[in-house]
Structures are given as structure tokens and as C-alpha cells.
């Protein structure tokens, strides 16, 4: 009985718990509050999308979760363990692939980087990198350098590199925003396939509502700053793969749009 209870309790606390009471910085004209009362839980294996307008504080929130910034007041916990600083249990996938991939390393070396940091033996590293390159469909490009790849391929490398060390959650900061529409759609489908195969939780930040509705288990709609918060969490009751042509899909898109629009009117 007791063990079952503990089990049940730990399951309830598993996943990422973001509780940022307040975050901001001092400027010459006074306190600039970026975030206020952001409280989200992302369960194990969940795909959570955060939508909000440009400049509302989405990336700031992601930087806090990643550990690059410390919240002025509040905590971030993973499996009920408070987090301090960056660590490889949550890996970031950046929008800026030009700078986030290491240009002097081949695709293989890029993907291998996190495993090297963990001092994994060479054989294990090779096997792991092989299987990840296969997962993202880059097996034949393993000895190329990033500047020889297309935008979509670079983003695949970044995803493989992040997944190589088996993080509990992937933090994706508008990863497909700079890709062309066609590639973006392909990458969204690819990401869902990879997510389903690996079972890693994903926190996906975007300003593209259609992208959020296509991908998410739940969508957190972020209000406009200063003092931005999650104004509403929406759960799309749609089966995957989701088609833009569906009535339910478009209804949901306009609902999110409405919430964002209301926010705009407030500001």
C-alpha cells in the first residue's frame, strides 16, 4: 500500500514544473517586469506548445527553464527536483542553427558532442550517433559539415544532437521559424514522428498558431508583456495527424487567435 502511494505521488510530481512568480530587470526608468505568475506543469512525454506574440517573453521563459537565466522570484523543478543552472537533462534546440551548430565539427561530431561530455566510451557513442542519424534521416550525411547542409537538415542535426544524450525534455525555441513553409511542414511531421518514437517531453515555443495546433497536446497561450503570463491553456481534442482542412482544426486556430487578439486589445 505504502509503496503504491509513494509511487502514485511521485508520478503526480513527475515532469517539469515551472513556477515563475516574477521575472524582470532594472532599467534606468525603473523595474521592467517581463513575466508574472507563470505556472505550468509539463508531464512526462507531453508535447506542450507555448504561443505568444513576438517580444512577449517566450524566449525569456525558455532561457529560465534552460537555466541560462535565473528567475527573479520563482523556481523550475524537474521530477520535483529544483533546478539550478543549465544541465543536460533538458536540452535546447535553438532557432539560430547558424550559430548553434558547431561549424568546425562534422554532422557526426556535432551529434556526438553531448555524449563526449558524458565521457561515454567510443563504441557506445558511435552506435548511439548511428541510430540517431538514422532516426532523423541523415545517415548518409554524417561526414558533412554544417555549412554544406540545407536549413531543414541543420535543424535535424540539432534535434539529433539534443536527443543523443537522452534528455527528459527538449526545449525548442521557435526551431522552424526561419525555414520555408514547405520545409517547415515536413519538419513538423518529422518532429512528431521522432517525438512518438522517443517519448521525450517537448516544450515548443512558437508564434505560429497553426504550428501550435498541428503539434501540441496542450497549448499555453501567453499574454502580452509587461508582466506576461499564461492566460489560457487549451487542449486540442484532435487525433494526429491533424489536417488544416478539418473544421475542428480551424475552429481551434481561430479560438487561439481570439485569445491572442483579446490580449492585443488589452495592451
Amino acid at each position: 500500500m505504502a509503496s503504491a502511494m509513494i509511487d502514485g505521488e511521485s508520478r503526480a510530481l513527475a515532469g517539469l514544473h515551472i513556477d515563475v512568480r516574477r521575472h524582470g530587470f532594472e532599467t534606468r526608468s525603473g523595474w521592467n517586469e517581463v513575466l508574472r505568475n507563470v505556472d505550468i506543469r509539463i508531464g512526462p512525454g507531453e508535447f506542450f506548445c507555448l504561443v505568444g506574440q513576438s517580444g512577449c517573453g517566450k524566449s525569456t521563459l525558455l532561457n529560465i527553464i534552460a537555466g541560462f537565466l535565473a528567475a527573479t522570484e520563482g523556481t523550475v523543478a524537474l521530477d520535483s527536483r529544483a533546478l539550478t543552472g543549465p544541465s543536460n537533462d533538458r536540452v535546447v534546440v535553438f532557432q539560430d542553427v547558424h550559430n548553434s551548430l558547431f561549424p568546425w565539427m562534422t554532422v557526426r561530431e556535432n551529434v556526438e558532442f553531448g555524449l563526449k561530455m558524458l565521457d561515454r566510451p567510443k563504441d557506445e557513442r558511435r552506435q548511439r550517433v548511428d541510430s540517431l542519424l538514422q532516426l532523423v534521416g541523415l545517415s548518409e550525411h554524417d561526414d558533412k559539415f554544417p555549412d554544406e547542409l540545407s536549413g531543414g537538415m541543420k535543424q535535424r542535426v540539432q534535434i539529433a544532437r539534443a536527443l543523443a544524450i537522452g534528455p527528459k525534455i527538449l526545449l525548442m525555441d521557435e526551431p522552424f521559424a526561419s525555414l520555408d513553409a514547405q520545409t517547415r511542414r515536413t519538419m513538423q511531421a518529422e518532429l512528431l514522428r521522432i517525438w512518438e518514437q522517443t517519448g521525450t517531453s517537448v516544450l515548443f515555443i512558437t508564434h505560429d498558431i497553426i504550428e501550435a495546433v498541428t503539434l501540441a497536446d496542450r497549448i499555453g497561450v501567453m499574454s502580452k508583456g509587461p508582466g506576461a503570463t499564461i492566460s489560457q491553456v487549451i487542449t486540442p481534442e484532435l487525433t494526429r495527424p491533424r489536417a488544416f482542412a478539418d473544421v475542428e482544426f480551424t475552429t481551434l486556430v481561430s479560438r487561439v487567435e481570439q485569445i491572442l487578439g483579446r490580449e492585443r486589445a488589452h495592451a
Partner: protein
């Protein structure tokens, strides 16, 4: 030949150069052939211009024609004089350049990485930097004598500042996203420095070293003219005392060619050794 060297020198920190991409073999071959043709035409035109100036507009005793200079040079090549003076100067440059690079790059990495060290040493460096290596010759001779040590010092002094400034710029230009990506993947302080910051600074360091090599040629000649008994600079000065203009020109042409080939060699070697670090960022 356009004076690329002086354009390079005018820039304090040059943005990363790109490594040549592998293009289509045929197109590349053609381009190569064209650039060789242009090179030969340029040098040929220069020689003709020199010949015309010498025989029509100037006193050939003051501006000896190319033929006479090459004749004098050929004799010097045969009796070993040419090899002697070139090897002495090259060796001095090699030593001074190596010392200057090691000290300059090391200090640059430290100053770029540690905010306090950078801020604190920066004013000192900025005040000393305008003092050219040539201005340091008198004190270098008093400190180190007229032998090799003073030459090493003067060359290393100039190389130090050029590599230092460029290394600091390189370290500071490491993209934040790149450092964050590495940290996110589990890189600690040391891994971050050696595996990310240092490679990211490589294009800047490389440019700094190349510009510094050009500077080393300037300072070694000045040092040899003022106080030395060997080397290209000393040779030119000796020829001046005897008003042997043809031999002066042998010295000047040798200097130009040595500098040119050293730069080519530098680019060739670093193009291979540093190839992957000179790639464009993704």
C-alpha cells in the same frame, strides 16, 4: 598586384575568412588558370614599366634596369651571399614570430575570457600599442645587444600586439547561442573554453597571425638596418654606403619576393591545418 597586405593591416579585427569551398573541378581549374595569367601579366607589366622608367626617364645609375639587378642578384645567388642574407632574416622572423604568437595568443585568450583581466589590462595595452617596433629598437639594443636576441624582441613585440587584439576580438565574438548550446549539452567551463571558445576564435587568431607576419617583415628590416651585421636590412644598408644601387635593388626585390612567398606559404599551411576552423558558421 593590389596591396592586400596593407588593406589587411588597416583593419584592427578582420571578420572570419571563409575556407574555399569545393566547387566544380572544371570551373575551379579555369579560374585558377585565369588568376595565374593575370598574375604573370601584372608582374610583366611592372617589369616593363621599371625598364622604361630606368632607360628613358631616370639616370640608370640611380634606378638600375631590371636586367642589371637580376645579373647582380644572380651573382649573389651563385656565391651564396643571397642565401646567407635571406636565411638569417627568415630565421629571425621565425623565432620572433613564434614567441610573439605564443605570448600574444595566450594573453589574448585570458583577456578575452576573464572580464576583469581584460578591463584592467586594456588601458595599459592601448597606451603601449602605438609605440611601433621601430621605436623600440634603441632600447632593445641596450637591453639585448646587437645580436639575435634584440631582433627576436623587436619582432615579437610587434607580433604580440597584433595577435593579442585579434585573439581578444575572436574570444569575445563567440556567439552566445553557441556557448549556450554547448552548456545545454553538458559542457563545463574547461570543455566550453577548449572545445567551443577557442575554435570559435580561430578565424580571428588566424587573421591576426597573418597580419602580424607582414608586420614582422617590416620590423626585422628596420632593426637590421640600424644595428646588425647580417640579414637583408643590413645588406641594403651596406650597399647604400658603397652607392651600389643595383645591389640595393637586389635587396629590395629579395625582400618583396620573400615576403610574398612567406605569406603564400602561411596561407597554404594554415589552409590545411586550420581548414575546419575557417569554415563559415553553418
Amino acid at each position: 598586384m593590389p596591396d592586400l597586405e596593407s588593406i589587411d593591416r588597416a583593419l584592427p579585427a578582420v571578420p572570419p575568412a571563409s575556407a574555399p569551398r569545393q566547387g566544380k573541378a572544371q570551373g575551379q581549374g579555369l579560374r585558377r588558370l585565369r588568376s595565374i595569367a593575370i598574375f604573370c601579366a601584372s608582374i610583366g607589366t611592372g617589369l616593363i614599366f621599371w625598364q622604361v622608367c630606368s632607360s628613358l626617364f631616370f639616370n640608370p645609375n640611380l634606378l638600375p634596369p631590371p636586367g642589371k639587378v637580376f645579373h647582380a642578384g644572380w651573382e649573389m645567388a651563385l656565391n651564396g651571399e643571397l642565401y646567407e642574407m635571406v636565411s638569417v632574416s627568415i630565421l629571425r622572423i621565425a623565432m620572433g614570430f613564434t614567441i610573439g604568437c605564443i605570448v600574444g595568443i595566450t594573453c589574448g585568450l585570458l583577456m578575452g575570457s576573464f572580464w576583469l583581466a581584460g578591463e584592467f589590462l586594456d588601458p595599459m595595452i592601448e597606451v603601449i600599442r602605438p609605440i611601433s617596433p621601430v621605436a623600440m629598437i634603441p632600447i632593445a639594443i641596450i637591453w639585448f645587444g646587437i645580436d639575435e636576441a634584440s631582433k627576436y624582441f623587436i619582432i615579437a613585440y610587434g607580433v604580440f600586439f597584433t595577435t593579442l587584439i585579434n585573439t581578444i576580438a575572436g574570444v569575445r565574438h563567440t556567439p552566445l547561442v553557441r556557448k549556450r548550446a554547448a552548456t545545454s549539452l553538458g559542457a563545463g567551463t574547461w570543455s566550453l573554453f577548449f572545445r567551443i571558445t577557442l575554435p570559435s576564435a580561430m578565424p580571428f587568431i588566424n587573421t591576426g597571425m597573418r597580419v602580424a607576419l607582414g608586420g614582422a617583415f617590416m620590423s626585422v628590416i628596420a632593426a637590421e638596418m640600424i644595428a646588425a651585421n647580417s640579414g637583408i636590412g643590413y645588406f641594403i644598408m651596406q650597399a647604400r654606403l658603397l652607392i651600389q644601387t643595383d645591389r640595393i635593388f637586389v635587396g629590395l626585390v629579395t625582400l618583396g619576393l620573400t615576403g610574398f612567398f612567406t605569406d603564400r606559404l602561411y596561407r597554404y599551411v594554415t589552409g590545411i591545418v586550420f581548414a575546419r576552423y575557417l569554415r563559415l558558421s553553418a
